[in-house]
Symmetry: C2
Subunit: 241 residues, 2 copies
């Protein structure tokens, strides 16, 4: 087991987030919490404001043409960017159509990510930042992925990788761990495997196996075991400098 | 493609539901809805009342000892049992610790399920009822599984199967389709594969494949392809009469 066990987990929500990007890792952590005493894990569900319920994707906010199915899924955040705990250890960042907003629209969110990661604005630096799917596009736009290795959903490869020109984007990856702190999982269900790997590295492989067996998840155990790079013809993208 | 395409989907929520039981099938349907025109699918998120936010498991309601991690995940239902659409085509029923409540506590929920399935109380009968994990325990307690084949989470095998003594419980099953209408998926992530199979049977296999590729899900395509029965030493349970 790692010497430095995280206690304070955060899940970032925004309009147009992908449901399973968030729920996969949270399920892994919910089951993990069964095996720990009640004081060891705390979750904050964080959005720009707690005044609005958050509606997930796959459709971008304002995409009226396609709201009928997805618009009725409603999540209540517990904390705003302003009230989120200052001592988060882990922050989980889903992808989804909501990552496609402009820099101006995303300014508060990107600023929040930078402060959490770097430990500025009176915060403790995150122990782990963990993105799923196109959540890596948000990390890329903060500069957090500069000089790191990372991955993303292979269907979004050509759209996301240019956002991180100083990043080595690894195509054949179910997830990538970089620098000990920066974890990026590939598309949607890869978040389950990536979080299981993080749980394994922190709490031991036996615990990760126990969690996956409980949720009857046929786990991908190797970070490089990813068929979707080839399916989509994706190749590594190297940093430009 | 099936001749009778469902339009009105419902997701049942209750305190102590399992997050990924619900989110897996909903993710599949969210992506499916991308490929259909906006008028073809409608989702209602249904709970006993819309006045309370619903908190998922893995801990049962009132299990104060373990609320710290999970208690802050909050879902806002859109409909109560009283206001839910009368013409639901599909109803999705997650499992989780909340299924372990008494018959008295679950009376409104079990009554709602019976009315939806049988088309009583002014309702149209469901085209498909779809449970995940220990959601099958709820179906068993309504009598809907009498004379049917079904499955459930293998970790809960000895607890759930006695609730349906007139059911043939299939141990080595990722999911079971019975009577054309009754679908029961095995533990948690099996809900993704089960819903992909239902989508395949309704909208065609090509569409199901397209959805799974988008969410980078390494799909289990055969209903009988389930390693967890053996892992947990589960055997089929035949109806007692």
């Amino acid at each position: 087991m790692a010497s430095n066990i995280p206690h304070s987990y955060g899940l970032l929500l925004f309009p147009g987030f992908e449901v399973l990007d968030a729920a996969g890792p949270i399920e892994v952590l919910n089951i993990l919490s069964k095996y720990l005493s009640h004081s060891e894990m705390n979750l904050s569900v964080i959005a720009e404001t707690v005044d609005d319920l958050v509606t997930p994707g796959p459709f971008a906010p304002g995409d009226e043409n396609s709201k009928q199915f997805t618009g009725q899924q409603l999540y209540q955040p517990t904390h705003s960017f302003a009230t989120a705990p200052k001592d988060l250890d882990v922050l989980i960042i889903p992808g989804g159509r909501g990552v496609n907003r402009t820099d101006e629209e995303l300014k508060p969110l990107l600023s929040f990510l930078r402060h959490c990661y770097h430990g500025t604005d009176g915060r403790k630096p995150l122990q782990y930042i963990f993105s799923i799917c196109t959540g890596s596009a948000l990390l890329a736009r903060t500069g957090i992925l500069d000089g790191q290795t990372a991955t993303t959903n292979k269907k979004a490869w050509d759209r996301v990788t240019p956002l991180g020109p100083k990043t080595h984007w690894v195509a054949k990856a179910r997830w990538v761990e970089s620098n000990g702190r920066v974890w990026t999982a590939s598309g949607v269900t890869a978040g389950i495997d990536g979080m299981a790997a993080l749980v394994g590295s922190v709490y031991g492989e036996e615990t990760a196996e126990r969690v996956c067996e409980f949720i009857e998840h046929v786990r991908v155990k190797e970070a490089g075991d990813d068929p979707f790079a080839e399916v989509n013809g994706c190749r590594d993208v190297l940093p430009v400098e």
